[in-house]
């Protein structure tokens, strides 16, 4: 599957089927298109199309141009995919995800955890200490938790993401 198809499937999973349909319809356009034309083309309600377009533009995947209609005096929005910026936007997003993974890794490395063997809830040392090392939910005795595997997984994910980002940053800067 190419990167674009992966992006489409992520859009479908995270933003819903409407956003996927709208994104794919924009991919098939040669240029920009209004929300009303899109609704007609996709046989969808204009409101649903607009909602999907705003969701996509929140992530900077789509952009619009606003023009005032001289006859009605209303604004008409012409939408298109942010083709020029898309690779750098997605790369920026990838860097943000890496930062979250590194934050979580830092948290896992700097804390000692306890787990309730009965309901599986997890507490930091401070939380466990405050509750007298008993589970505040079920009263079970908390046990020390070895999070070395979690640390290892997060470290591997962070390393792989960093490697990918380094390569892609290089590619992007050499192509621009």
């Amino acid at each position: 599957m190419n990167s674009l198809n992966v992006l489409i499937s992520v859009i479908s999973n995270e933003l819903g089927e409407d956003a996927k349909k709208v994104f794919e319809a924009l991919l098939d356009e040669q240029d920009e298109i209004t929300d009303e034309q899109l609704a007609q083309k996709l046989n969808m309600k204009v409101n649903d199309v607009r909602r999907a377009l705003y969701e996509l533009s929140r992530l900077n995947l789509t952009i619009y141009r606003r023009v005032r209609d001289k006859t009605t005096n209303w604004y008409v929005y012409y939408w298109r995919i942010n083709t020029e910026e898309l690779p750098s936007i997605i790369l920026q997003r990838k860097r943000s995800v890496l930062r979250k993974i590194l934050n979580r890794l830092e948290y896992e490395q700097n804390n000692q955890f306890f787990i309730c063997p009965f309901d599986g809830s997890r507490y930091t040392f401070d939380e466990a200490y405050e509750n007298g090392f008993t589970c505040p939910r079920c009263g079970g005795e908390l046990q020390a938790l070895d999070n070395s595997q979690v640390i290892e997984i997060l470290r591997r994910i962070a390393e792989r993401l960093q490697e990918e980002i380094n390569i892609e940053e290089h590619k992007l800067s050499s192509s621009s």
Binding site: V6, P87, V97, K100, N103, I157
Partner: protein, 132 residues
Amino acid sequence: MSTSSKLSAEELKAYNIIREESVKGGILQPELWKKLGINSKHGSRIILKLIKKGLVQRILVEHNGRRVYKLLTTTRSILVQKFNINLNLVSEIPCFLCREIDKCSLGNYFSPATCPKLTSYILTKLNHFSKT
């Protein structure tokens, strides 16, 4: 402007096939001729018209040791070429399209330390990790 306006029936048919095939990464010219049941001379004329109208783009690719044109619709064709970012790993991580990502940091209400979606992802990875 709608893409399908002002096209002849044959051009529209060719364009629709290219559009459908673009989802899977494009279609090679000889395959399109077969699908349309026309020869390459006639087909090339149709494609040149579509290219002139900016609806279709062709990329030279190597197929079975021969150089042939692959046809794609435009915005998609631009992105297929330009967009080479590996999303296989990052797309599994829930932060990727999370709407709170800009508000999320250690100590905040939205935090990667306590995020249930991220925890659930790590646990799935942990199960996979302990099985292997």
